[in-house]
């Protein structure tokens, strides 16, 4: 992949074929940018009891809770 200086395109999976733009020299934000952590396996949220605080009963997304 080309080294697009000053552009987030340098690490975007779509860059080689992106239909949105050919000028990838200075892109600082893009809704189509593929988040690194979204490209492989989804990470599980690791939330300690302390962090949950008063929201303890609201762990609707079933994140694994680490003590």
């Amino acid at each position: 992949m080309k080294d697009y200086r000053r552009s987030i395109c340098s690490t975007c999976r779509h860059a080689p074929y992106c239909s949105l733009t050919t000028d990838m020299s200075n892109i600082s934000s893009c809704s189509e940018y593929v988040h690194h952590l979204d490209t492989g396996e989804e990470p599980t949220y690791m939330v300690s009891i302390e962090m949950m605080g008063n929201n303890r009963q609201r762990n609707k997304r079933k994140e694994p809770v680490l003590n």
């Binding site: 000028d23 600082s28 809704s31 189509e32 990470p43 300690s48 809770v65």
Partner: protein, 430 residues
């Protein structure tokens, strides 16, 4: 290992920083901004560069460089994202931090502007390494961030998990009795760790609301109005979702893979379902045909929503645009020359700083809930967002009419005047 860098007198203006400074200068000239306050707003308050060691999975130690730029806090704690990317540096962070100052000011939030991140390519590190890097960066920043000082949020290559690590690390540095009072040190957290309902759709809903307010003002019924969306990510999808519920019809979509159209309309939900199952691509959707990417903005429609990236509407394609409303879901999608062409054609532009501010308002609601020990339901969050965005829209419209200026200029005027007022009333210490 914290160093404070001095701001160079010859600040290199390039790309984003150049744009931000140009828009600031334009609005400052129009309102005749106090020259002393202009001096303050032209520079950043603080620029932190931290170098910190982290042990890698193979046992070796690597040194990382992290940045946090705090532009201005006249209106409240600094607020802005943290990104992990090789391009992160002081110049990039300065431009984005300044942009956040104007955005939070316009939105009427009690925040200033900040931005930062770590210069790295996250694909080179394991999840465990990223966790250690994040935690060590948080420790290195120390009390230069805080729930009432500087509140980071997710950005490029950082997400709710990253925020949860920052929160956990920051809280761990506090005494047990203080820990639970620091939940609002970051926003964009997972729901289970103090995140807010509705944060996922806040930006897209904000784009929709601005279109709705504009339509009410112009007495335009959104039912059966045709709209096209560039970018079918979080912003584009949710904006389309709410527009469709209002009776509007999505006739074309462009994403990184290509462009599709159906002038009779296509279902937003069915397209999202298809794209999700098709590695995120809208290409191949049965209810639409592929079109040339260069024809996208020239399509026949009423509303155009560029919600992907900057510099998409240019002098080249602006003359061909048929929509009478551009709602900027992305940052800087319309360049300067294109804007002149569009305004001359009588096309209204809902500027990015207003149109996509739903995200930071959503963050503010998360911060408020944590700060006040409250938990709001989704409908409550959405109702408050509508109220807040309605106030912003009204202020921009009124200023635009009173100053006989376009909405972008009006938005910058409001943002800068609010900061000017704070400085005039408070004075300059000592």
């Amino acid at each position: 290992m914290t160093t404070l860098t001095k701001t160079s007198k010859k600040t290199r203006k390039q790309g984003m920083l150049d744009n931000v400074m140009r828009q600031f200068d334009n609005a400052a000239d129009i309102i005749g901004l106090n020259p002393n306050i202009r001096k303050i707003l032209e520079v950043t308050n603080n620029e932190f560069v931290v170098h910190f060691p982290v042990r890698m999975d193979n046992g070796e130690v690597e040194i990382f460089t992290g940045y946090r730029v705090q532009h201005n806090n006249a209106l409240g704690p600094y607020k802005g994202g943290l990104r992990y990317h090789p391009t992160v540096d002081i110049d990039a962070a300065k431009a984005l931090a300044m942009w956040m100052t104007w955005k939070t000011s316009l939105a009427g939030l009690p925040y200033g502007g900040a931005k930062g991140g770590i210069q790295l390519d996250p694909s080179n590190y394991s999840l465990a390494e990223l966790e250690r890097i994040t935690r060590r960066f948080t420790y290195a920043l120390g009390d230069n961030i805080g729930p009432e000082l500087d509140i980071p949020a997710p950005d490029v290559n950082t997400n709710p998990q990253t925020m949860a690590w920052i929160l956990d690390t920051y809280m761990s540095t506090k005494s047990p009795s203080e820990r639970s009072t620091n939940m609002h040190v970051v926003t964009g957290k997972p729901i289970g760790a103090g995140g807010s309902e509705g944060r996922d759709r806040a930006t897209g809903y904000g784009v929709f609301l601005n279109i709705k307010f504009w339509a009410e003002h112009k007495k335009v019924d959104l039912k059966d109005k045709k709209f096209i969306v560039q970018g079918f990510g979080n912003v584009g999808y949710w904006a389309a979702h709410f527009l469709e519920k209002e009776g509007a019809v999505m006739t074309a979509v462009q994403d990184a893979y290509g462009s599709i159209a159906n002038e009779d309309g296509m279902s937003v939900e069915e397209l999202m379902e298809y794209a999700t199952a098709n590695k995120g691509s809208v290409l191949g959707f049965a209810d639409a045909v592929p079109i040339d990417k260069n024809d996208f903005f020239a399509l026949n429609c009423d509303i155009c929503i560029p919600s992907a990236l900057g510099n998409q509407i240019t002098a080249k394609n602006a003359p061909k645009i048929k929509a009478y409303l551009i709602a900027e879901g992305a940052n800087g999608p319309t360049d300067v020359e294109a804007e002149e062409i569009l305004l001359k054609k009588g096309i209204d532009i809902l500027p990015d700083i207003l149109c996509n501010s739903g995200g930071v308002i959503g963050s503010y609601f998360e911060w408020l809930q944590n700060r006040n020990g409250e938990i709001w339901q989704l409908d409550e969050v959405m109702a408050k967002l509508e109220k807040k965005m309605g106030e912003s829209f009204k202020r921009v419209l009124e200023t635009s009419q009173r100053r006989k200026a376009d909405m972008r200029t009006a938005a910058f005027i409001i943002a800068i005047e609010r900061l000017e007022e704070a400085y005039v009333q408070r004075g300059i210490f000592p």
